[in-house]
């Protein structure tokens, strides 16, 4: 690696160094309590999959270029130069970490490995060594935000075609729009994913609850966050913020996508609208008596997988359970309790990378498969697109014989028409 490239990369590194990041980089005592925290390590016990080891790969470079210790007495902390080989190590550390932050539950200091891995990810972006697929998807999202008119017509036609499906789930008065789009003054802006499964059931539930809602032009997923590029994360986020402001909505409701929810909730700053997840909104409808669910819709025990970005990192743990208690009398909690829920193994962009990561995803999530199996449930519900895909893959790979379902779809299927 030539000096110019290294300087550029170190500038990117420097840009990530705020107070919290420095605390995370400077406090680790390498006590190793995090050893048992990572699902990858518990499924494939290699030292390189221990949270502290992953973090140390970034920390060694940090010491070398940003700390007196690394400059004066390099060997004492094994500080390390930023080289091509270091980049390879960073790649392996960052893209075998799903950013679930389960290690934060174990660490005596609460060090955030996901945050440290974001340094690895931005260095890879700077060196053009990030997964191309994620970068491409991020660029496409940004492009769509810039030239919405080109996409508009195709989008509207696509949505029109879905309306009959929505009506099948919830009958409406003649003349009412099943999927309203671009409605100024709507109360709620629903941000879905590109896919009918993310739109149809949600639309049916909104209509059933009599919500004054509108569908966003944009998809919720933030590939900028997956690839670890803060500027692109922000651009992708801003498309939705701007749309919400233009339509003057009171609430932005994010579909079943963990990353999208956390980015919107925690990174959008103070806005004239509230941010909620579709799970929260559905629980609210039930609580307020705006929708009623038929408990006999689903047969067999149901368990729920907490998406890390929504539960441990987003704080939504009670609402999905509240909904499920309206869907079944046989709800099974995963052992031991939601705080220690294993990551599905698909986060951090791994599912978006598709078949390329399939083998690793299956091997690294053995403990998740066991945790799911331990419930003895017939239906495995979840509220995140990535988790759903990954759990579906696990179901097949480990022959779990379960039905993997979206919570939103379950709510829509169980709606009781008056």
């Amino acid at each position: 690696m030539d000096q110019n490239t290294r300087d550029e990369l170190l500038k990117l590194f420097q840009g990530k160094l705020n107070q919290a990041m420095r605390l995370y980089l400077e406090t680790c005592t390498r006590c190793g309590v995090c050893t048992k925290a990572c699902h990858v390590h518990e499924s494939m016990p290699h030292v390189k999959y221990i949270a502290a080891y992953r973090a140390e790969i970034v920390r060694r470079i940090y010491k070398k270029y940003f700390k007196a210790q690394g400059k004066l007495w390099s060997s004492v902390g094994q500080s390390k130069e930023l080289t091509e080989m270091a980049l390879e190590e960073l790649y392996e550390a960052a893209y075998s970490c799903t950013g679930c932050r389960r290690c934060m539950v174990y660490c005596p200091f609460g060090i955030d490995t996901q945050m440290i891995m974001s340094i690895a990810k931005i260095l890879l972006v700077g060196a053009h060594a990030e997964p191309e697929m994620l970068s491409m998807l991020a660029d496409m999202s940004i492009e769509k935000g810039k030239s919405i008119d080109i996409f508009k017509e195709g989008f509207l036609t696509g949505i029109k075609n879905l309306e009959s499906e929505v009506v099948k789930k919830w009958k409406m008065e003649a003349g009412d729009t099943a999927i309203p789009v671009d409605v100024e003054g709507a109360d709620l802006l629903y941000v879905a994913l590109a896919g009918a499964h993310s739109i149809i059931p949600a639309a049916a539930v909104f209509n059933a609850a009599g919500e004054n809602w509108t569908l966003s032009f944009f998809e919720a997923v933030n590939f900028g966050a997956f690839v670890g590029d803060p500027s692109r994360t922000k651009l992708i986020l801003e498309r939705i913020v701007n749309e919400a402001k233009r339509l003057k909505v009171k609430e932005v409701c994010i579909c079943e996508c963990g990353t999208a929810y956390r980015v919107m909730k925690q990174l959008s700053g103070k806005q004239p609208f509230e941010v909620s997840s579709v799970t929260e909104v559905h629980a609210r409808y039930i609580r307020e008596g705006r929708i009623k669910l038929d408990k006999s819709t689903f047969q067999g025990a149901i368990t729920y997988h907490d998406p890390c970005q929504i539960a441990r990192n987003g704080g939504i743990m009670d609402d999905p359970r509240y909904i499920l208690h309206h869907l079944t009398d046989d709800y099974r909690e995963m052992a031991p309790d939601p705080r220690y829920n294993w990551c599905c193994g698909g986060g951090g962009g791994l599912v978006a990378l598709g078949d390329e990561t399939l083998d690793f995803r299956m091997k690294s999530s053995k403990v998740k498969a066991e945790q799911v199996q331990g419930t003895g449930a017939a239906i495995l519900s979840t509220a995140c697109e990535n988790c759903h895909t990954q759990l579906d893959n696990l179901n097949e790979h480990y022959h779990l014989g379960m039905d993997v379902m979206f919570l939103t779809s379950m709510v829509a299927d169980a709606l009781v028409q008056n």
Binding site: A20, L23, T29, C31, V33, Y53, Y106, F109, G110, G269
Partner: protein
Amino acid sequence: MATIYYIIMVPMVYIAVAVFFIGTVVRLVKLFTQPKNPSTLQIFPEKRPKWLWALHDSFLLPTVRKHNPLLWVFLMVFHICFLLLIIGHIELFESFAVFQIVPHEIFLGKGFLGLLLCIALLFFLFRRLISPYRELSVPEDYYLLILLFLTVLFGSQMDWARTWYSYGELGVEDYREYLLSLLYLKPDIPANILFAGHSFMLVVHVFFANLFLMFFPFSQIMHSFLALPINKLRRG
């Protein structure tokens, strides 16, 4: 020999204390003048009041207790003894009524606290020789443990050595005279300190303590100051 003793007991102490204070303050100021993270970094479920739980996390190490109870026992013994010994050393300057709430003889512990510390330190040290902790550790971690071990070993043995020789030599009054002379910048080493039968133990203790103090601001031992703010981030 007297010159070496003097260098360790006077100029080196000043240098070590200066490096420790300046290094620590500079590092803390640098850290806390950095911009804050724009978004929350907490994990859920949350408990309130957040600062109280952050204190609880920092001082009682609940995550270690849950996931590694044996390590937790040694960590608690280590940190509590360490704190008591810091109090003991403060009392070598002057006795404070507040510390005498639980009446005790100065110096604290009669060497037993140090012995406990030594055992805990050996546990930490040997633990790092076993996989996966061996792969996680860097030389700094071993040096710190060894330095502390040597400091504590010679420190705690002094109280025992007093019982081997005669009680009169190297007592609290001698330490006080020596330490206060350092504090008032009129360094003077009482003859008792240099010529008692076990003086070398004191000199070796001070020597390793100096090294430890000088290493402190550049090492992970800064976690003593950083544990609370970092735990507050997790609690939100």
